[in-house]
């Protein structure tokens, strides 16, 4: 190692990389953090609620927060923490105690090799895959999961209702985030499960725009995306469960799970798939704040 380092030290950038590497060598996951020692920041009646940097997730987190406040808890909001890599260490250390999550994507995070795809299988597998100290409450019927979508025009022209109807169409281009290429439900899954041949195009944050502009024919969009309504897209049915079911589920620290279950479980039960799209539309189309959306939703459902 020393001689390698000496040789490489001649080239400054490479040396920097190498030093960074030796510093984090050993563990398989360099982002892994030491989770021991950190204490929950809140007192016994203070619940720290977190959310992803995703407006829809923040609305659900705000609903949790307001429901808890209505029940007499003190709530500390720690919203927009980013993606799973960023917030999971905070949950594992107890800094954040309650977090709206999605069963399938969360299961994939802890168990990338999972074969479960139906909602109940995923929920059961998830309960086993979670690290010590974390648990999930009841899952909600609301889903926010990957789905394949086409424009209404394209669906009509080719008589499409289910993913399988794509089989036999030529020159299909599927667009989605870069990682879709490697996901089990990506191009390979489409071929194996439905016999659909597609080429892949990474479209990042502009997947829906690319679909509407015609640079891709099929787009991987989250099922609760309001643009499925507003851009007149057709979500193709998935009878073979190619996609991992991803229901909204509260991820919670074990030590406060019993305290909050009575408040949060009725919220999960009341949140429907259509209800979730509705909440999202209020945010993206009407530009309402998550506080107002959450307050109205709780009042409508007699949960506030």
């Amino acid at each position: 190692m020393l001689t390698t380092r000496r040789t490489l030290a001649l080239v400054a950038p490479a040396a920097t990389v190498l030093l960074a590497l030796t510093a984090c060598g050993g563990g398989s996951d360099p982002l892994e953090e030491d989770t021991g020692g950190a204490e929950p920041t809140g007192g016994s009646d203070t619940i720290v609620v977190g959310s992803q940097a995703y407006y829809s997730n923040e609305i659900i987190a705000e609903i949790y927060a307001q429901a808890l406040e209505a029940d007499g808890f003190t709530v500390e909001r720690n919203f927009s923490i980013g993606q799973r890599d960023a917030y999971m260490p905070a949950l594992e250390s107890g800094e954040v105690q309650l977090f709206p999550e999605y069963t399938g994507n969360l299961l994939q995070f802890f168990d990338p090799e999972t074969t479960a795809t139906s909602p109940d299988d995923v929920y059961t597998a998830l309960a086993e895959a979670l690290p010590d100290g974390l648990t999930v409450l009841d899952q909600s019927p609301a889903t926010d999961q990957d789905s394949y979508n086409v424009t209404a025009q394209f669906a009509e022209d080719n008589d499409l209702t289910s993913i399988g109807d794509l089989a036999g169409l030529d020159d299909l281009v599927v667009g989605g985030p870069a990682e879709l290429e490697q996901r089990p439900y990506g191009p390979q899954g489409l071929k194996d499960v439905y016999g659909v041949d597609v080429s892949f195009e990474a479209t990042g944050d502009t997947t829906v725009q690319d679909l509407v502009a015609g640079s891709v024919n099929v787009a991987n969009v989250f099922s609760a995306d309001p643009r499925i309504q507003t851009e007149d897209l057709v979500t193709l049915e998935d009878p073979e469960s190619l996609f991992l079911a991803s229901n909204v589920v509260p991820l919670v620290s074990e030590d406060v799970a019993d305290q909050v279950a009575d408040v949060i479980n009725p919220v999960s039960a009341a949140l429907t798939p259509e209800g979730l799209v509705d909440l999202n539309v209020q945010s993206t189309e009407e530009q309402r704040s998550s506080e107002d959306i959450a307050a109205d939703w709780l009042a409508e459902n007699d949960l506030g």
């Binding site: 990389v17 590497l21 060598g25 990682e179 892949f200 502009t206 015609g214």
Partner: protein, 244 residues
Amino acid sequence: MNLFADAVAWIFSPDRATGSLPLSEAIGTHLAFTAVSVLIAALVAVPAGWLIGHTGRGREVAVALSGAARAVPSFGLVLLLVLVFGVTHKVAASTTAFVLLAIPPILAGAYAGVEAVERRVVDGARSVGMTSGQVLRKVEVPLGLPLLIGGLRSATLQVVATVTLAGYVGSWGLGFYIVQGIQLRDFSQILGAALVIVVLAVLLDLLFALAERAVVPRGVSAGRTQEDAPVRRRRRRATAPSPT
């Protein structure tokens, strides 16, 4: 296994020749984005820089503009331009962002090179009857070349690193592997792609370092210290006939 070894294994894996984006193609698009962006930026910034350096006018504007341009967050710029140009023009949008990023260092190199030419040399050129255009072409530009190439060098390095962002908007360049790897938590892929970018950057930097050295003899006295000036002059008389 060591992460570094995994990353190197990722680079040389036979899987890199297949898939939706083979590694060779990714390196190709990465370099193409870099070359085209720097070239367009040079076409704009070099003449402008020479003019500013030659006339001495517009210098404050150029300094302020290039200073401000350096503060523009490139990631935001790429996404903004994609939305402004429309998703069917992603290549043009990303290239524009990289061009804007490359302009300030090239502009600075071009006008600083011309400005750095000693006034006595310029006066000398005028006194032997050169027109303003000849002074620029035959004196200021050749003597300013090392600084201009220095500007191109830093622009190229900046762009070759930033082209990584193209991976966020399409299946292009080495950034694609990094963007994909982050979501898949595939650290050998992230590091492997990053190492290839580092190698490209180091190679390009070496190329420019050689180019900078190659043009120095023409710029004899520009930027030389008093002690090594006579040595230079003697050697020049013996070998090279004239700077033009």
